[in-house]
């Protein structure tokens, strides 16, 4: 495998729901150890793109390669093997209500029978410490945690198996600005610690500036601009300019009817 093979390569992704075309030929690469943030308004296809990469949704056309391997045509057990090297932080946390926090964090390790329960609990406690939570939190249930704590637990679960790639779906949505900044710092810190590549989607520009090496803007199912985070303020693209400044006036027209 050549050294310049990207960690994730998406080419010409198309996905529709009925007559609505959500992805219309999306191309994007995420390099090894790189953190790419995809920005864009609601309904532009950010979540659909993420689900296509994670194998939760199947695009009608295009290719998704991870470490140079095409994953869309893989058998289910091969795909599970690929997913073992990934972590995902869901927008709402998606913690399992019926399990205590430590079992949530160590779920992947336990389900794959990589470690016994006592060792899994030790790993979970150390991962919780990495995201600033004490060992006593491990014995609580997700319903007993605040939104910010749930995000931290979700982050601990995403890094529990020391993944090569971590995905973040709107990591700061629904959090107050201070907690959002705490989560952003944790994302940067933990991603560096495990040495993972990261692909995030958000419409929170403060978050994007903090966690990204590179930003890509998705509009109407295609990447219309991408570049280093330092270039975003002089991107020379009126869509990007309107989006990052949050202006109602501009080329992006918000749909008021579905």
């Amino acid at each position: 495998m050549a050294d310049d093979t990207p960690k994730i390569r998406m080419r010409d992704l198309h996905k529709s729901f009925g007559t609505k075309q959500v992805l219309r030929g999306l191309d994007l690469d995420v390099g090894v150890g790189e953190s790419v943030v995809v920005i864009g308004g609601s309904g532009t296809g950010k979540s659909v793109m993420l689900k296509c990469v994670l194998g939760l949704m199947r695009p009608e056309q295009g290719s998704v390669e991870i470490d140079g391997q095409e994953v869309l045509t893989m058998a289910a057990d091969e795909r599970e093997e690929v997913n073992r090297h990934m972590g995902m932080l869901f927008q709402g946390g998606a913690l399992f209500d019926s399990l205590p926090v430590w079992e949530n964090v160590a779920f992947g390790l336990l389900a794959q029978k990589r470690v016994g329960r006592p060792e899994a609990k030790e790993i979970a406690v150390s991962k919780l410490a990495q995201v600033g939570l004490g060992p006593e939190v491990g014995d609580l249930f997700p319903a007993e945690l605040s939104g910010g704590m749930q995000k931290r637990v979700g982050l601990a679960r995403a890094i529990a198996a020391d993944p090569d790639i971590i995905f973040f779906d709107e990591p700061t949505t629904g959090l107050d600005p201070i907690m959002a900044d705490v989560i952003n710092d944790l994302i940067v810190k933990t991603t560096r610690e495990v040495g993972a590549s990261a692909l995030s989607i958000t419409h929170d520009m403060a978050s994007a500036r903090k966690i990204a090496n590179r930003i890509a803007m998705l509009y109407e199912g295609r990447i219309i601009w991408q570049g280093p985070v330092a270039d975003i303020d002089h991107a020379g693209n009126e869509y990007v300019d309107q989006f990052i400044h949050g202006r109602a006036e501009g080329p992006i027209k918000m749909a008021v009817r579905a």
């Binding site: 689900k51 194998g55 939760l56 709402g92 998606a94 399992f96 209500d97």
Partner: protein, 257 residues
């Protein structure tokens, strides 16, 4: 107005649901017999489906047995055949009322709870989270519940049979003045292994129906809280209808020459 259009739409919808349900059922059975297995989850589900359903099944069975004895007496007394009450009670309970009433009661309790639990997991992305953690949701969520249903329903029905017959005995002996030992002797003499076995086979089938309907509707729920509510209703209604349909089919298979 084209009247064929709505009919065709309903028919295509029916075919689509039937196809999806068949694939779902085949997939679950395939996962249920292939490792990895999740014994802790299977055990937890067996306790939930079996142990915690005992009160509702026991109460249903004892009252069904009592009513059956009373109704049989008032009917049979017209042509002096009161002695057949023990036979009627035991055969009705073991062949029919035990499995069907237990099935319907547990469909309400377990079918609804499975659909609500799995439906909530679907709309809160917990099922997607399982996939990203390299865990097949069908294997982790659905297969253990199916196994628990297939094992625990026959156990519940066996207990319901005993309690139902005991209900008939209570009414016959303490209200209608039957001799206890003669009543029990009649019960024992007329009961055949086939009566109990057919009821247990029905129970296993009903267990499969209830767990599959609960899991299927929960797994495919969409649209937030309203979708979960719809899934719960659909799970109970479809399980109840299928129980009655399969009761007829199995009875025809077992008892018609």
């Amino acid at each position: 107005m084209n009247i064929l259009q709505p009919i065709g739409r309903v028919f295509l919808g029916f075919l689509r649901t039937t196809g999806r349900l068949s694939l779902f059922t085949g997939g679950v059975f395939a996962h249920a017999v292939r490792p990895p297995f999740y014994p802790r989850i299977i055990l937890r589900q067996m306790i939930d489906i079996g142990y915690f359903s005992l009160p509702v099944v026991g109460l249903t069975a004892i009252f069904a047995g009592m009513v059956l004895a009373l109704q049989s007496y008032t009917g049979f007394a017209r042509f002096s055949a009161e002695g057949a009450i023990a036979n009627v009670v035991v055969i009705s309970i073991t062949r029919e009322l035990g499995p069907v009433l237990a099935g319907l009661m547990v469909a309400g309790r377990i079918g609804a709870s499975l659909a609500a639990e799995i439906g909530t997991m679907r709309v809160t992305e917990q099922i997607d989270a399982l996939t990203t953690l390299s865990t097949n949701p069908m294997k982790y969520l659905v297969a253990p519940r199916l196994i628990a249903g297939l094992v625990m329903f026959p156990c519940l029905v066996l207990i319901a049979d005993v309690i139902g017959v005991f209900g008939g005995y209570l009414v016959a002996v303490y209200k209608l003045g039957f001799n206890p030992s003669i009543y029990l002797q009649n019960t024992y003499d007329f009961l055949q292994a086939e009566d109990v076995n057919s009821g247990l086979v029905k129970a296993a089938v009903f267990g499969g129906i209830v767990t599959l309907m609960g899991c299927y509707h929960g797994y495919h729920s969409q649209g937030g809280a309203q979708g979960v509510g719809r899934a719960t209703t659909n799970a109970v209604v479809s399980a109840s209808i299928l129980i009655l349909c399969f009761d007829y089919i199995l009875t025809a298979l077992f008892f018609t020459q």
